[in-house]
């Protein structure tokens, strides 16, 4: 079973101080650390698990500048066999990304394409499904479980309200992977150092035959901090005092 996984390098912002660039069109990135998109990590791990079960090869692809190589190295350390970096913009335009990926993937032999449900940074959540449409493949998004039965995949998708749906998708297909689908494995630094020796294929847009560069579907006009709404009343004092107030509140509200 040959699997292609599309991944993205993203800035980690959960713990970071966010500053906005002068032009107001993006956040400042210089001081941020970058990593493999969390959802993509689950996708790569899932691909490797499937490979271990059914044999085959896992190829990871990313679009981005030189620095993106580090996430490919990580994927190789996770057990991917081949890595391809397409020199290009780390654009947020999902349609553009999907078209470039489709061009790169076209003509390759694969049984499955996995992507993360969405990226941690801009959260569009569209590349996987769009890619399927361009390649003319069936897809399933927000997948939490995969079972392969010959030329079909039985997959579970996560719906709202704690419910899942079970689907049958014909292979080859594109699945977008939800977090929690598997137990991530620690990627040791020595595995990463070993993976650095493995080759990453680097290709330009022209090499994959991608040229059409029409207007972007979406452009950012301005980013801003969300307005702060009402804030909670913060209880102050020593833990004992705080708990004292809290107990009163609980008593009152419990009715």
């Amino acid at each position: 079973m040959n699997i292609i996984v599309c991944v993205k390098r993203i800035p980690k912002t959960a713990e970071a101080d966010i500053l906005i660039e002068k032009d107001g069109k993006d956040i400042k990135r210089d001081h941020l650390v970058f990593a493999l998109n969390d959802w993509d990590g689950y996708a790569v791990r899932e691909a490797v698990l499937l490979k271990e079960k059914f044999e085959g090869e896992v190829t990871v692809i990313t679009i981005g500048p030189e620095e993106s190589k580090e996430v490919l190295t990580r994927c190789l350390a996770m057990g991917a066999d081949r890595a391809v970096r397409i020199e290009g913009p780390s654009s947020s335009d999902g349609h553009l990304i999907a078209r470039i990926l489709a061009q790169a993937i076209k003509g390759q032999s694969f049984d499955l394409i996995l992507t993360g449900v969405q990226a941690e940074d801009d959260g569009w959540g569209q590349v996987g499904v769009a890619l399927a449409q361009i390649l003319g493949l069936p897809h399933a998004s927000i997948v939490t479980h995969i079972e392969i039965e010959r030329d079909k995949a039985k997959v579970r998708r996560e719906l709202e309200g704690g419910i899942e749906e079970l689907l049958e998708v014909k292979l080859p297909a594109v699945l977008t992977i939800q977090t929690g689908i598997n137990e991530p494995k620690y990627v040791s630094l020595s595995a990463i150092l070993d993976a650095e020796d493995k080759e990453t294929k680097e290709v330009g847009m022209e090499e994959i035959g991608f040229s059409s560069k029409g207007p972007l579907d979406a452009t950012i006009d301005q980013v801003s901090f969300p307005p702060t709404g009402k804030m909670a009343e913060i209880l102050k004092g020593s833990p004992e005092e705080v708990v004292g107030q809290l107990t009163e509140i609980i008593k009152k509200k419990k009715g």
Partner: protein, 376 residues
Amino acid sequence: MKIDPKTFVHDYQLNICIQCGTCTGGCPVKFRSPLNMRRLVRETYLTDNFSSLSKRAELWACTTCSTCSLRCPSGVKNVELIMGIRNFLANKGEIPSTIRDALENTLLQGNPWGRFRDRRADWAKDLGVKIFGEETSETLLYVGCAPSYDPRVQSVSTALVRIFQKAGVDFAILGKKESCCGNEIRRMGEQALFKKLAKDNTALFKKSGVKRIITLSPHCFNAFKNEYPDLNIPVQHYTQVLADLIGGGKLHLSKGLGISATYHDPCFLGKQNKVFDEPRKILASLPGCDFIEMERSRERSLCCEGGGGRMWAEGGTEGKRNGEIRIREAVALGAKTLATACPFCLLTFEDSVKTSGLAEQIVIKDIAELVVETMG
């Protein structure tokens, strides 16, 4: 890099174990987990199924306090064995998720909690502390992760800065450029990451022109002193520096505390690095501080369970925590303050004070905090 468990027998001297049980007998988690160090040595020596042995949850119960290794009559490297097995697991990627997070965070953000790198020196913002790169000094105050980020421990960092400033100690910190020392990283099994941190930190210290290092945490102290291969810069724990300052009359301690205090020896300061006297000297010199010695002190101190990655490990133990036992011992002694000199001890005791419901009866303080209180 592959780890071959077959080399463990040789690397950790498992074949010379005489199965006397000294290790297990003195283990601080012997009643709290199924970890039996003696049996582990024997089983590792004999096993033909190492991978199943390595999956036991109790391997993460070890606090790496090193009581076993220090007392072993045969020189078996028990703690190194634990770290070796953890290293084996880390390289296979099969480590508990909380440990995984801590290691990944360290690689990414330079601290196991995954707190933002740039915010590392926020605690020092308004203290007028010199930062290498902007200003220079021969003395590095290496702050460490917990003292940089944890609000409870930040108060120790702040206290120490105030003391040094008052005593006229010229020093600087690394600010955002400071990274985890790797002591706990090595103990969680990530030897390669430890090596990288050691290499990068050493290079940074040298580039910054550091001639002397003072650490807040005994864990950093241990790493720099014993485990950094090419450092060659003298390292002191802050208690050693404070004892000198007080001894040399550089600090005017005037305000009476009016407390009775006892002291808990951190394993990485006491047992492992034999710094027993300086903290006691400091406590004895504080005005209005009645120092009481604990029954289990110095080499017989009971590990608080904060080391060896236990700050990040989940479970593996049950029953009453050593932290609680320690607090109860201190209360029974009549101490109103339990002093220590390690961020992990401080945090575990702060927890235990609450879980044991003894918050009314005893407070946990770092020695630096007590010193600052007497400065008036």
